[in-house]
Symmetry: C2
Subunit: 241 residues, 2 copies
DNA sequence: CGCCCATGTTGATTTCGATCAAGAATCGGG
DNA sequence: CCCGATTCTTGATCGAAATCAACATGGGCG
């Protein structure tokens, strides 16, 4: 489309030049001058695991692009039961256009790097460039697909299928080679407690199922976090497709 | 906004004049001339329970507004386990803008009345009027919220909380009075088997939990389908909020 | 009308994952 | 390097929901 943007890189703000969000993320829908405006109001933030990006406590009036790391979206019942309702990876866009009554929390699962800007600037750009709204619609549709896919996992899969499904999800998002190759290696971005909250299980059950996969030779685990999947297909067969 | 549309009703195609989709649905984002174009290509359909609106078998290249009835969106695992991943009520818009790899089925749960039009016409209108894309984004965001809310139900609620949550969902969507009043009355749009597939339970468990709610005086059931909730708050307290 | 088939209920038993409990591994900080 | 705190694993027991089984209801149709 807009080939000029990439030939004359001088049009592009310096901070954006090497940014993945400009290629695969929402910023790809912006004109150079919009990108410039946005970059003037943006700040890059580093968040430690556990830090909140969106909370129901204080309302944060900002949007972010995730540049690195993993963000978990959580919902809680009044008695403290928790469910992770989504994971977001770079270069996902984070934040809720317009308003929503639904309370959701976004928290860094790993160390996270974001490019953050005030809500107002984006909202104005949405109004003036339809391409941006189109990009947002596409990301929202993607998230809806993922949510529904996960509903099947939560509602109809066994514990062992759930854990296999989780490992596949992570492998595909973190190790790009996972898609084509047989093998994949990655660090789990979540603790056992987080995995349990994502799968609707307890930490003990997650631990037991990981152990079973390890004993059966489907995966290797080092230092609790580092996972090697020796044969992706074998893991797929265990995920209940 | 476009007050003229409603004053000069003659601008509005006859078939659209009394249509709810023009007020609360996507058609509200269309100009009179677009509505006219669309109405020329639209057909009203009546579907019996069990009939498919979107299937992975034959690809249906159409979109629909649901004018009456309830549509269930389902996903299946290869061994036949099924999960309902969403319910759609009038005047929801049904159909997938752009393409999606995710396979989903849409099936009439009750008798359903739709206003159906070919994909191409809508896709063209999306390109020329940003308001329509905005409306679609809003509906998609609403569906995403609902999906995530339901993920909490699937992952973290007990069987009895799940059944109570389901009754609340139906009450709020079918009996508009449910929101303000204490009482609500409605016909269940789903069979026990469907309810089980929506809640990630078996039909026996659903039946037992309904019986318990009936014995405890929270609901009344006549003819298996007709439900009266005597005190909505009491049902809410049982839904695990 | 009576029969059949789909739908729903109820009871008995089993099973998977939760809970309770203890110990092992890992990590960060003085 | 050691210590305490987290995080994780493993084992024993329990319980909620699944499974298996039988029966009830109800609606459509010859």
């Amino acid at each position: 489309m807009n080939l000029r943007q990439d030939i004359h890189n001088s049009d592009t703000p310096v901070v954006c030049q090497a940014c993945e969000a400009r290629h695969r993320g929402v910023c790809g829908a912006l004109e150079p001058h919009q990108l410039l405006t946005l970059s003037k109001h943006s700040t890059k933030l580093t968040l430690e695991p556990g830090m909140e990006l969106i909370g129901d406590s204080e309302k944060v009036d900002s949007y972010s692009n995730i540049l690195a790391g993993v963000v978990k979206l959580t919902k809680m019942l009044s008695d403290g039961r928790q469910q992770i309702v989504g994971l977001q990876f770079a270069p996902d866009f984070l934040g809720r256009p317009f308003r929503s009554e639904s309370s959701i929390n976004a928290e860094a699962a790993t160390e996270v790097l974001t490019c953050t800007f005030p809500k107002g600037v984006i909202d104005r750009m949405i109004r003036e460039s339809p391409g941006l709204e189109h990009k947002l619609l596409q990301q929202t549709l993607k998230e809806l697909d993922e949510a529904r896919e996960w509903m099947v996992t939560l509602g109809r899969k066994t514990a062992s299928e759930k854990v296999a499904s989780f490992l596949l999800l992570i492998a595909r998002n973190i190790d790009p080679a996972a898609a084509d190759h047989k093998q994949a290696t990655f660090d789990l971005p979540l603790t056992r407690a987080d995995i349990a909250d994502f799968l609707g299980l307890t930490i003990e059950t997650v631990s037991r199922q990981l152990t079973k996969l390890r004993i059966d030779g489907v995966i290797q685990i080092e230092n609790n976090r580092h996972v090697t999947v020796k044969d992706i297909n074998r893991l797929e067969r265990r995920s209940g497709i």
